[in-house]
């Protein structure tokens, strides 16, 4: 017996929880009054949100001329932020859909928060291209509806239209996936709530869920279907984002490596962001027994894997430039590493390729402050990656007479800060009103790593 028990993997959830205890542990922070720390965090993030709202109002009123763009550099800060936020979102789908298909049951502790992160990140991402259209009140023109202009239809050959369809589908499917996963938990909240408004609200949203197994059976099927659809979807979304660049003839953009390179980079940055959020959330909400060091360890392994892919892509880009024999292509890459934005390039390489190497060591992977610091650096590095790709290729293209610099204006920086404000405000509200951990899923993995004979009756 003892030997058989030793051969089992350690349990996913620590602390020998009973089923009812899981409900209590996850619901307790929502039912208690918010802590002072939560109020402070909300105050700070909503201040940034306000700053962003003011900046957005200003740039819509005055126009895109408030940005630092010029005739040479037509895309810069906004598209960097767009790609950055979309990428962040992808780790949520990786955890909720891809790891589900791979039967990685440890995902149950983090999937709810990761999916929430996806939705908020896509919301942040959506802001930038809409403002960049210049007349955001006509954003609905992207939708191919019968109109009084002809009907003039959208151009289905354009990657920007592909992007519109990809992002809106991605947002819709992610939101549905999140809601379906939450349905049993909303019923749990409804049935245990003491506050009247909470019971009413959860009662409306839980759609009358009562845990009937006929519903559970179909629920499992729908969840599997959504995971199966979400997996190719997430890959397609960032592939299409990369096509925004790759279908252009610009050196440094026109590369077949872009789709896999972007998808790996997206998951890399998103994983780092999930870890950043979870490390804070587990500490503040006392969820250390649910999000254990083993969870962190596994996510770190995903970070270093994707870091390897991204590093390989950086190397491959140089090789392709060399091997292509195209002097423009070669110049762009030398210019990235040694030109005026060399510091950005080396920040990107340092943060994305060198720093994550520390995660090879188990000591680092299980030391929370180190993981936190590495993840922050990865996020910085991945933001710079998009900035470098976009700005270096545009600012120095084929004809030196056209070369021009780009520097962001205060309005652009304020919009970026505002998007962080939106993201963290949404996340803080999420932590307050929705169970951060998928209660019904965690209950299903409580027995993992425990000997079968250890029954409650013996």
């Amino acid at each position: 017996m003892a030997e058989a028990a030793v051969a089992l993997p350690p349990p996913l959830i620590e602390g020998d929880k009973s089923i009812a205890q899981v409900t209590r542990d996850v619901c307790a922070p929502m039912e208690a009054r918010p802590t002072a720390l939560w109020w402070v965090a909300l105050l700070i993030s909503s201040s940034f949100l306000l700053l962003g709202a003011v900046a957005i109002g200003y740039q819509i009123a005055v126009g895109v001329g408030t940005w630092g763009l010029n005739r040479t550099v037509g895309w810069a800060f906004d598209i960097t932020n767009f790609v950055f936020w979309i990428g962040i979102g992808h780790a949520g789908t990786l955890i909720s859909a891809i790891l589900f298909l791979f039967r990685q049951r440890w995902r149950t502790s983090v999937n709810r928060a990761a999916e929430a992160m996806t939705i908020f990140a896509v919301m942040c991402a959506g802001i930038f291209p809409v403002i960049h259209t210049g007349r955001p009140w006509f954003a609905y023109w992207m939708f191919p509806y019968p109109n009084t202009r002809g009907s003039l239809w959208v151009n289905f050959r354009s990657p920007l239209v592909w992007d519109f369809f990809a992002i809106s589908t991605y947002f819709t499917v992610s939101a549905m996936f999140w809601f379906i996963g939450m349905l049993p938990d909303l019923a749990t909240i409804r049935d245990r709530a003491t506050a009247k408004w909470r019971r009413k609200l959860a009662g409306v949203l839980s759609l009358g869920w009562n845990g009937s197994y006929r519903a559970w059976q179909r629920y499992e099927v729908v969840y599997l279907m959504l995971a199966g659809l979400g997996t190719p979807l997430v890959i397609s979304v960032h592939t299409i984002v990369s096509w925004d660049f790759a279908t252009a003839v610009l050196p440094g953009w026109h590369a077949t490596i872009f789709p896999p390179y972007f998808v790996a980079g997206a998951i890399f940055s998103g994983m780092a962001m999930v870890l950043t959020l979870m490390l804070v959330a587990r500490r503040l909400m006392h969820l250390e027994e649910y999000i254990t060091l083993r969870h962190i360890d596994r996510m770190c392994k995903l970070v270093i894997t994707t870091s390897g892919i991204v590093g390989l892509a950086y190397g491959t880009e140089f090789f392709t430039a060399l091997y292509s024999g195209s002097s423009y292509e070669q110049f762009v890459f030398l210019n990235r590493a040694l030109g005026p934005l060399f510091w950005g390039y080396w920040t990107m390489v340092g943060c994305n390729v060198f720093v994550p190497q520390l995660l090879w060591f188990r000591r680092v992977r299980t030391y929370v402050p180190a993981v936190f610091a590495i993840c922050i650096l990865v996020n910085v590095g991945m933001w710079f990656e998009r900035f470098i790709i976009i700005v270096t290729s545009l600012s120095r293209d084929f004809i030196p007479a056209n070369w021009f610099h780009y520097a962001p204006t205060r309005v652009e920086v304020a919009t970026l800060l505002g998007s962080f404000g939106l993201f963290f405000t949404c996340f803080l509200l999420f932590c307050r009103f929705i169970p951060v951990i998928a209660v019904a899923e965690v209950k299903g993995v409580l027995k993992y790593g425990k000997p079968r004979l250890e029954s409650v009756h013996e």
């Binding site: 049993p184 009358g208 009562n210």
Partner: protein, 176 residues
């Protein structure tokens, strides 16, 4: 039509599974099983037919993709052809990304809506629980007393042997 139901309440998935298997073996009609989480093996034990939702999803995905290819062809090559960089009007390969996205959208939205439809789930529906706690930490096996051969005492004894925490008779309308 009112039904006489017997509800066995359990506190672990293993006991629940054992109770379902024992009830099926004895030929009792299982109205439904209630659980706070999806328990591996319950649908096999209950003998539920596999869900047909995957076919719905497949059909809707196909429909979405088909409609979208037609729509892209019609708008770009028939209704108002616009010459973009000398590309052919009917540029099928360029239609692939949007077709894929619309296929996923149709399939996913269809999956969720048909799930709500077959399970009769809608906003603000009043939840009917057989016993309190099935959304927290209790499992319930609900049997229907079909005819006079059904001995409630005997079944109660069987459930209690399988560690039921509570067994109760309910004479109501539909529970499920």
């Amino acid at each position: 039509m009112s039904k006489r139901l017997l509800v066995g309440v359990f506190e672990s998935e293993d006991d629940t599974l054992a109770a379902i298997r024992a009830s099926r073996q004895r030929g009792f009609k299982i109205v439904d099983v209630y659980a706070p989480y999806a328990v591996h093996g319950v649908e096999e034990a209950m003998g539920l037919a596999p869900s047909r939702l995957p076919w719905v999803v497949f059909a809707l995905g196909l429909l979405g993709a088909g409609l979208k290819v037609w729509f892209e062809f019609w708008t770009t090559a028939v209704d108002w052809p616009v010459n973009v960089g000398g590309k052919p009007f009917n540029s099928l390969p360029a239609f692939v990304p949007v077709t894929f996205e619309v296929m996923v959208l149709f399939a996913a939205v269809g999956a969720v809506l048909s799930f709500f439809f077959v399970c009769r789930l809608y906003p603000a529906k009043r939840a009917v629980l057989p016993v309190a706690g099935v959304t927290d930490d209790r499992f319930a096996v609900v049997l229907e007393q079909t005819d006079s051969t059904f001995e409630p005492e005997e079944v109660q004894e069987m459930f209690e042997k399988l560690h039921a925490v509570h067994v109760e008779e309910q004479i109501t309308g539909e529970v499920a």
